[in-house]
């Protein structure tokens, strides 16, 4: 139980959006628009711009991601080691929730 909370807490407020961003950056560095497109491709979730930049600022401040210096207007972001660990903990906790939920559903529910 404590592990689940710990995993979510390190991603801060709105862990769902944070996990999507970190999962996208786990595949390599990306700038804002490429990141949103990637998240939409693998999850079907459209992150609006205000929410995206709020989350990027929060993750950067927490040291989970870092901005890469760029001459261009497009500033890419990459996952830090700490961010990878926090994402791994979060996904492990989520996996535990998925396993428990699926096992309980399979015992008493049937879906036509």
């Amino acid at each position: 139980m404590g592990d689940i909370n710990f995993g979510a807490n390190r991603l801060g407020k709105n862990p769902g959006v944070s996990a999507l961003i970190l999962s996208s950056l786990a595949g390599g560095e990306k700038h804002g628009y490429a990141l949103v497109k990637d998240v939409a491709d693998f999850s079907g979730v459209e992150i609006p711009p205000g929410t995206l930049y709020e989350a990027l600022a929060r993750l950067e401040r927490s040291g989970l991601i870092e901005a890469i210096a760029s001459e261009d207007r497009r500033r890419p972001y990459r996952l830090t080691g700490f961010g990878a660990k926090a994402l791994s903990d979060h996904l492990a906790a989520q996996r535990q929730v998925v396993e428990v939920g699926q096992s309980r559903l399979s015992q008493g529910w049937s879906f036509a």
């Binding site: 711009p49 205000g50 930049y53 401040r61 660990k85």
Partner: protein, 338 residues
């Protein structure tokens, strides 16, 4: 009109909703992002609403009231400047309410004032003094710092806020002089008799503060020079608070100054809370019962709730400073390697 605007112009217009530090940090990439987003989906009210919502949150965070500011390394500077503005408005009201209580305290020779009323009166006086003297100290420190910086380093960043702050001080001092002229003409404060002297100070304070609070609404009811005095003195207090806050925001804080800022903003917010509690205690103990002045009007009660709200915002602002995680915390916690 909107259809004629290019994606770049629309993006720049949306960027203006965000505060300056945010624009400095994310402005270029945000415009790039929005240009591509507008190219893909030209009109999306949900997207605009999301930006307005998040930018407003960002503005609130930037003045240190809730949520982490982008400038989290200088959170105490943000907290101090916000507390200074809030406390200045609060203190004008606090001085008015203190003067009402002090004028009415022990004023009926037929009825002795109870000990509890006197104790609460003491607490009101102490909290008001803490607020007024701390604000005075902050003003003096930052004006002297700005003057020294301007003359020694020949940097002009402080020049305009400094000129505006000093001009406001002149207007406020002139207003105090004008509003207390009656007391001065009657021979001034009788400091040799402490009780009478304190009542006279309270009377003069009541006249000055009620002129500052309600003065602008009295305009056009008296002669022109009085109207100018009432409106300009209220405006000068507001401008003075904002210009001192600007001096604080422009100052570079050392580690020691960060500590000073954090603790001073906390002292100000605790002073405000102490005042509210003391006044509530004074009223509950029957502070008004022995007085020749009546209970508060509905308007005065409403204003009291307003300053209680200011105290609450001040408390939130000062105790939220430096509570947010940063990169150093992340480094200490360790992480994975690729």
């Amino acid at each position: 009109m909107n259809s004629l605007m290019t994606p770049g112009r629309r993006a720049k217009r949306l960027l203006k909703f965000y505060p300056q530090p945010w624009r400095d940090r994310y402005g270029a990439e945000f415009i790039d992002f929005m240009e591509q987003s507008i190219d893909d989906v030209p009109y999306n009210p949900k997207r605009t609403a999301n930006i307005i919502n998040k930018s407003l949150k960002s503005r609130i965070a930037e003045v240190g009231i809730m949520g982490p500011s982008l400038d989290s390394a200088n959170a105490s500077r943000t907290a101090l400047s916000t507390s200074t503005v809030l406390t200045t408005f609060f203190t004008v009201f606090a001085l008015f309410y203190w003067s009402c209580a002090m004028v009415s305290w022990n004023s009926n020779p037929r009825v002795a004032t109870s000990l509890s009323v006197s104790l609460w009166m003491g607490a009101i006086t102490v909290s008001t003094m803490i607020l007024a003297l701390t604000l005075l100290l902050i003003g003096v420190i930052f004006v002297i710092h700005a003057l020294r910086f301007t003359f020694s380093k020949r940097d002009r960043k402080f020049t305009w806020p400094l000129i505006i702050a000093l001009s406001s001080v002149v207007v406020v001092l002139n207003a105090i002089h004008q509003f207390t002229r009656l007391t001065i003409e009657r021979g001034g404060i009788q400091w040799t008799q402490l009780g009478i002297g304190l009542k006279q100070v309270a009377g003069a304070t009541q006249w000055v503060t009620q002129s500052l609070i309600w003065g602008p609404s009295w305009a056009a009811q008296s002669d022109f020079s009085q109207d100018v005095l009432h409106i300009s003195s209220t405006a000068a207090v507001i401008v003075l608070a904002l210009s001192v806050a600007k001096l604080i925001r422009l100052s570079e804080f050392s580690l020691a100054a960060n500590r000073f800022g954090r603790w001073t903003s906390r002292l100000l917010s605790l002073g405000m809370v102490l005042f509210i509690l003391s006044y509530a205690g004074w009223e509950q103990a029957g502070g008004f019962n022995n007085a020749w002045i009546g209970h508060f009007t509905q308007m005065q009660n409403s204003l009291f709730f307003l300053i209680a709200l200011i105290a609450l915002i001040g408390l939130l602002s000062s105790f939220r400073a430096n509570r947010h995680p940063n990169e150093i915390g992340a480094i200490l916690l360790g992480g994975a390697k690729k």
